[in-house]
Amino acid sequence: MGGFGHYLAIHFDTLRKEFWFLFVGGVANGFLYGMVAVGYTLVYGVLRLINFAHSEIFMSGGFAGYFVMKALIGTSSPSGFATVYLIVIGIVAGGVVGAVVATLLERVAYRPLRKRNAPKLAYLISAIGASYFLFNMAGKEFGRYSISVPQPYINHTVFTIFGAPVQLYYIVILIAGVIMLLGLDRVVATTKLGRSIRAVAQDAETASLMGVNIDRTIALTFIVGGALGGAAGFLFGLGTGVVYTMGFTPALKAFTAAVLGGIGNLRGAMIGGLLLGVAESLSVVFVQAAYIDVVAFGILVAVLLFRPTGILGERLGRAA
């Protein structure tokens, strides 16, 4: 036991030294996970199923952002106002393409099954097929190597907290994430669309009796979730480059985040994303970098076993 105590002492010492550095990166990742996780949670609310192809919405957003950045930036190195404008364009491009892919997905892989009142297993299989089709298609068309995205800024340390450097990239994610997640929260809580999403999530049949168009609401839910997923794909690609398989791991983690917060619970997904991002980042101290993905998976299994309703609890269709 002495050996183990020693091990912990060393690692907690490292943790104390590196805490803020890891925390900053974890929060930035957490916002990305949160943006993808809300896509899972929204779709789960209205359809009661996990959208297995959400990873490919993320991937297509990443590629859309790459193409736009490549076309607009080329070899120049923008700064100042141009940076802001380029990032907004990139997010919009990622979001639009994500929404388009999500819509197509809903039309092709989900709607025919819904019309037939198919069982859950059929949806899962169809979504897995669609996911496989999409990312391998991307591999065929865009090559199978990771490409780095032209940067709309020169990444540098903007300021430090407790000695930990905060890079511009993290600040971009933070601002974009806060704006989009707050915006989504307000849309779902206050608008007519949000009301119909919540109504369908609570009880689709009754909602349709009250005059809610279920088909339209489901399609719009996919668009909203897809837009955020695509935008997150762009922001992710900005940091780590784009490749056809880029969706798999972040999406698995975002799903973990959604379950962690309580699937169907919008704010839960955001909090779950942040918690997972930070927990994963801090775990670097204790495990080798190669096993980082195992940590997220371990959290997923632990949550499913001990608290399958998540931190905030499953809440389908209630505001917040």
């Binding site: 297993l121 899962l124 669609a130 391998n136 299994v301």
Partner: protein
Amino acid sequence: MKTFFNNPMVRRFITAAAVLAVVAVMTGPAGSTEAPTSGFTGSFSERSSFFGLFETVRWVPFLFLALVFFGLWTMWLARGTQIKSAGAKVMAVPRAATERRPVRWGIGVVLLFVALILPHVINDPFWQAAMVEQIAVYVLLAIGLNVVVGFAGLLDLGFVAFYAIGAYVTAWVTGALPTPPLFGIHMDPFFAIPIAIVIVMVAGIVLGVPTLRLRGDYLAIVTLGFGEIITIFANNLYGITGGSQGSALIPHFSLHIGPIKYAWGLTPVPYYYLTLIFVVLFLAAFSLLEHSRVGRAWTAIREDEVAAESVGINPLKYKVMAFAIGASTAGFAGVVTASQSNNIFPSSFSLAFSINILVLVIFGGMGSIFGVVLGALIIQTGSMYLLHTPPAGYQSSDLYIYLGALLVVMMIFRPAGLVPSRRRRREIVLSKAGEGHPDEVLTGDEP
């Protein structure tokens, strides 16, 4: 304008054109990182022949196919029911014949005979190797996954994990890993078969007991994660698995029973027969299992878990059983592959592998043993053919585009698969007579 697009004929044509445009891109030339749009443009503008008749550009034959598709679709809408009933009349006699037990046995014997002489008919070394590595082994894997997905209705996306465990146990037992072998002696791969099957089944139970309590969609994602985790461990535990380098030489099978001495070698045909023996054994076992008490319990759980529990079936127990029994074939397949190819590499145990097996089960027909075997034969032979003689513009990794599309198409148009299981067929017939819903039997819906 709006009325124009609401016209069903117009919508049908647009859909047909869109489907064929997707097919054109799927089969078209590949793009690249430097020229990412070249794949799309090339799919339509590249020169190609119009079905061997004259030279033209690609969009012409595809537009023609879209028109044909549109015509067939329109005809099907007008005449579909007549064609279906005519088809049912033609098929009635053979279908009734195959319902009879002696006929089924006869077909089985004939198929077995064909399987026995096949390696003597096919002399091409590529196909002889493919018959073992890509066809016989995959048939085995498919009938194993069919127990999990088809009989018990559990979506397992981490089937590759059990296959990997089987392969690594073989390497371990034969002393090909950095870890000292079991009991400190280098055993023949034959001993690896029971050891691997037992270890894989234990792994199935260990993974199954906690996770099989979960809802179906959670189970899918947890097994998916498990499949990835196994690869991560295999890749990084250098001292135990040999890391990304894989293992040292794994010996071939050899037999020493009294006067009988036989050693398997590099040639694939002996491995073919060895695998065939196990395919037959597993087929027999699973066919018996399907109609046993256990098999009926699986059906009950799949169709309605709450109802099954209320009549005294313990769902968790039977689900774990399905998980472990299905995994056993993957364990055996791992042993055969490891011994035959001499090497194992973590990179070969990917998610793509699990999906490939899932496609075989879905295409053939969930829960239908004959269907799954047929599906596995068709798809694996097809994919091997594509590998052997690739058409212009085809890369081997494009296979997964087709498999993914196939999953979606099957779920939309024929969720019961190529050869639906007999129970399923009965449900479809009943639902046409107005009793029940054809999809209810696929899996129990969540409460």
